[in-house]
């Protein structure tokens, strides 16, 4: 690996909800860095603050204190138009509920992300084609969301997220609404995107299996960093067992459904 490039730098982030009488510390003094090409998972039981952390990084929510630098720009200081511009150019999102626009075809859902950043009209088609090939969704490009399976829809959402070549790809429980086969396919796709297209990815998940696709895992508990794992040269199975050990240490039940 050549020169290390810091893409995301989270510095002493705090998030406090509520009022005087009833204060909830969702995030307590969290700091970490993400390098270019990283594939990171944030894990933790429900209520650990993982989604809050993602929202603060993704500018969807604002931190009470601390700083978040993306490409050396302090996003906690951005407002209004600059914030939207930043979001559309530097970040890509994948949501649990896909959030595709049901009146648009798959192609248009993907191209919309480019239209918003005023991408030249005649270069839009080749760009969409590029990500569609990578994500294996070329045959559904002219279908509407309701004509597709959940897995296809989520891959369209992934295509929409990376078509603008964002600095950082953020995924919030991307497999949450998928069956295990589609989930595996999506994760493999994310892995490929990470390796081949150099997409720096930050994924929030509560599922150890999902996390095992990543290169690095940050564990949260009660708003604080509890542990951190780096995959190194482990294969996925080994890495998965290491993750399970930390999960056991974390206590509580990580699968909030039970």
């Amino acid at each position: 690996m050549g020169k290390v490039n810091t893409i995301l730098k989270v510095e002493n982030i705090e998030k406090v909800y509520g009022n005087k009488g009833n204060v909830t510390h969702a995030l307590k003094n969290i700091s970490f860095e993400v390098q270019k090409g990283d594939f990171i998972a944030i894990m933790g039981p429900s209520g650990s603050g993982k989604s809050t952390l993602l929202n603060c990084i993704s500018t969807i929510d604002t931190a009470t204190a601390g700083h978040v630098f993306i490409d050396d720009e302090d996003i906690t200081k951005l407002k209004g138009h600059k914030l939207s511009k930043f979001r559309s150019e530097k970040l890509g999102f994948i949501f649990q509920e896909y959030n595709l626009l049901d009146t648009l075809t798959a192609f248009e859902n993907v191209s919309l992300a480019l239209s918003i950043i005023n991408y030249p009209a005649n270069e839009i088609e080749p760009e969409v084609d590029r990500v569609a090939t990578a994500l294996d969704i070329k045959e559904v490009l002219y279908k509407y969301p309701y004509q597709m399976s959940g897995g296809q829809q989520q891959r369209i959402a992934a295509a929409r997220a990376i078509v603008t070549r964002p600095t950082l790809l953020l995924a919030d429980e991307p497999t949450g609404a998928l069956d295990s086969k589609s989930a595996k396919m999506l994760l493999e796709n994310l892995e490929i995107l990470n390796q081949q297209q150099d997409a720096t990815t930050l994924m929030v998940t509560h599922d150890p299996y999902n996390a095992s696709f990543c290169r690095r895992i940050i564990f949260l508990k009660d708003g604080q960093i509890f542990n951190e794992l780096i995959r190194g040269n482990d294969d996925r199975r080994t890495f998965f067992h290491r993750i399970m050990e930390v999960v056991a240490l974390l206590g509580g039940n990580i699968n909030d459904e039970f």
């Binding site: 559309s88 626009l101 009146t103 648009l104 248009e108 950043i117 005649n122 839009i124 509407y144 309701y146």
Partner: protein, 666 residues
């Protein structure tokens, strides 16, 4: 028993959802009543002879219009009802999971509909009663100058009509609901909010050709309308052509727009445009019928508004030209007494109260209008057939000039053996014109007179409050013909010093001459009477139609506004997604502006086009009743419409912005 309690409680609980439905109903009932009570106004029932034809036409068209309004309201109410059903799908789902039978559920919903409907009917009738009073009071004040004739009037016929029509509408709504509930699947109810909307995919060629068909239908509808006017035999055909055309137009327009926009990549891939076009396209697939109905409503309001405004403005002009003097009295020729003497004998202080007057003699020669026009017999109404049997009126040059002088006009000069014709009854003018230019000779005794001028003079020779006694053609002949003609009647035109004196004298005449007048032995009329009756009735109609037009407008705009607001509410998630993928506030506001703008303007596109032609035709139909031509005055009505539009649009846009603002990323 349980069900009744549930019905009662449900209405209370969903009062917010029912508010729109309830408001629609109340507004509908009140307008329906107000409109229907117009036709049972006593002012319309004792129309004088001249107004009878017009009155008949009015009753016919009010009948037609009532049906039209009932259909519009039925549609509106079903629409508002669907809005409620949509909101309460989840509730229905819960009832079903609890094991309630579909019959029971539909019983509850039907019960709710009727409960709300009953309240709306009662309140609507009350409101309608007030509305109709305000209309008549305002109308009387505006057009008659006082409100003496004003009576509190509760129209039983209108109440009956309203209750029957709305009962039918409620039953339709109930059937509609029951059918909906019977066809429903539990799974759809419980995931109603999550379900992706299914889109019909437009076929490019089918859509484009349907669009062309729509254009053809509309164009041919307009052409037929211009050719046949409001002819009853063709009206249904024309209306259906236009109706289908409008529906098809709105069904296909968005598809065509999307195809067109997609070909223009620079436009389609700019900012949120692809979303805008797709969103409009998909919404129009659902809403094309609503938009078509709104368009029809807009046409109706533009037409009645345009007509009302045009009639009012031309009436004001007419009132001054049609009444150059304050008084006209006509009595059959009497050797011994002139008109002033008759008045004196009957105890009417006439001469001393007139500032100026002329007293002249009307003659006949036994010649009838039928003989005069025998060269050119055209299709005439019964009334006109009757007129043809009556004798041609003649007056002498000196007398004619006296009248002209009194009305402040320039006098004329006739050569020997010359005549002119004065006439201002539109339907006869073409015959007179033909006569002057072809046959053109009149025999009096041994003399053959020729026209001094081929043009028809259109001065007012006497006041009239009926079409029949209008000047259908008065022949003006040289003074030396006097002895060769038979004296027919005496005519007096006079001017009063003030309106008070005019009123005072008129009262005395009414007192003394009532029997004589009924026997046909005297005819008298004053300027104010003409204004009060003749123009009064037209005025009320014009006023009411303007009023109705504005109400239609408000109904239309309310639906548009409500629709847009609920749509924005339903699409909150989409706007949130847009802002998550980086669309900034300005972009989203622009999107919202265009989206709402399109919805507001699209029904207006066809409405303004069609209303221009329809108003033209309606005014042509009305013109014979006004004798002078009605200037088509669409500016004022368009002005009013644009003002209302702007107000509603701005209000809707801002509320919609508010709706998504709550849900937007900071």
């Amino acid at each position: 028993m349980m069900s009744f309690k549930l019905i009662y409680k449900n209405v209370g609980r969903s009062i917010k959802d029912y508010a729109i439905y309830f408001l629609t109903l109340v507004l509908g009932v009140s307008l329906f009543y107000a409109f229907n009570s117009v036709s049972s106004q006593p002012a319309l029932n004792d129309l004088n002879y001249s107004m009878e034809i017009f009155g008949d036409a009015l009753v016919t068209y009010i009948g037609l219009l009532t049906r039209f309004i009932a259909i519009v309201f039925a549609f509106l109410i079903i629409y508002a009802n669907q809005f409620i059903m949509k909101r309460r799908k989840k509730e229905m789902g819960i009832y079903m999971t609890l094991g309630m039978s579909k019959w029971r559920i539909s019983f509850i919903f039907v019960g709710e509909t009727f409960l709300v409907g009953l309240f709306a009917l009662i309140i609507g009738l009350g409101l309608g009663f007030l509305e109709s009073q305000v209309i008549s009071l305002l109308a009387l004040k505006m057009f008659v100058g006082d409100a003496i004739g004003y009576k509190l009037l509760l129209s039983k016929v209108a109440i009956k009509e309203t209750i029957i029509s709305f009962s039918i509408i409620y039953i339709i709504v109930a059937l509609f609901n029951t059918r909906n509930i019977m066809n429903i699947k539990l799974i759809d109810l419980l995931i109603a909010n999550r379900k992706n909307q299914e889109l019909k995919v437009y076929n490019k060629w089918v859509t484009s050709s349907l669009f062309l068909v729509a254009i053809t239908l509309i164009t041919s509808g307009i052409l037929l309308l211009l050719k046949y006017g409001l002819d009853k035999n063709y009206l249904t055909g024309i209306v259906s052509l236009l109706g289908f055309g409008i529906i098809l137009f709105y069904y296909t327009i968005c598809g065509v727009m999307v195809f067109w926009a997609k070909r223009n990549k620079k436009l389609y891939f700019k900012e949120l445009n692809s979303f805008l076009f797709r969103q409009l396209g998909s919404k129009m697939q659902i809403n094309y019928l609503v938009i078509s109905i709104l368009s029809a409503l807009l046409i109706a309001s533009l037409v009645v508004l345009g007509t009302g405004v045009s009639v009012t403005s031309s009436m004001n002009k007419q009132v001054t030209t049609a009444t150059p003097f304050d008084l006209t009295i006509v009595q059959p020729y009497d050797e011994n007494n002139g008109l002033l003497e008759t008045a004196k004998q009957d105890g009417i202080p006439l001469k001393e109260n007139l500032v100026n007057y002329v007293e002249i003699m009307l003659f006949n020669t036994g010649l009838t209008y039928g003989e005069l026009f025998k060269e050119k017999q055209v299709k005439l109404s019964d009334l006109e057939q009757e007129l043809l049997m009556s004798q041609v009126t003649l007056i002498t040059e000196t007398d004619y000039n006296k009248i002209l002088k009194l009305s402040g006009k320039e006098e004329i000069q006739l050569g020997e053996n010359n005549f002119i014709i004065n006439a201002n009854y539109e339907p006869f003018n073409k015959h007179i014109h033909y006569f002057l230019n072809n046959e053109g000779k009149i025999r009096i005794g041994d003399n053959e007179l020729t026209p001094a001028n081929k043009k028809i003079f259109s001065n007012i020779t006497y006041l009239t409050n009926s079409t029949r006694a209008n000047d259908v053609g008065t022949v003006v002949v040289p003074d030396n013909m006097k002895n060769l003609m038979n004296p027919d009647s005496l005519l007096l035109n006079g001017i009063f010093p003030s309106q008070e004196i005019e009123g005072m004298v008129y009262k005395i005449m009414n007192n003394k001459w009532v029997e004589k007048s009924l026997d046909g032995n005297i005819y008298y009329v004053t300027k104010s009477v003409i204004q009060d009756t003749y123009f009064g009735v037209f005025g009320v109609i014009a006023f009411i139609s303007s009023y109705l037009g504005i109400i239609f407008m408000i109904v239309t705009l309310s639906i548009l506004a409500l629709q847009q607001l609920t749509e924005t509410q339903d699409n909150k998630e989409k706007y949130l997604t847009l802002s998550k993928i980086g669309a900034d506030e300005k972009m989203i506001n622009r999107l919202l502006f265009r989206q709402i703008g399109f919805y507001f303007i699209s029904p207006l596109i066809l409405a303004s086009l069609l209303s221009i032609f329809t108003t033209k035709v309606v005014l042509e139909k009305l013109e014979p009743f006004f004798e002078v031509s009605i200037k088509q005055n669409m500016f004022v009505s368009f002005g009013i419409i644009f003002l209302l539009y702007a107000i509603y649009f701005i209000a809707t846009y801002h509320s919609a912005k508010q709706v998504i603002l709550d849900n937007r990323l900071k």
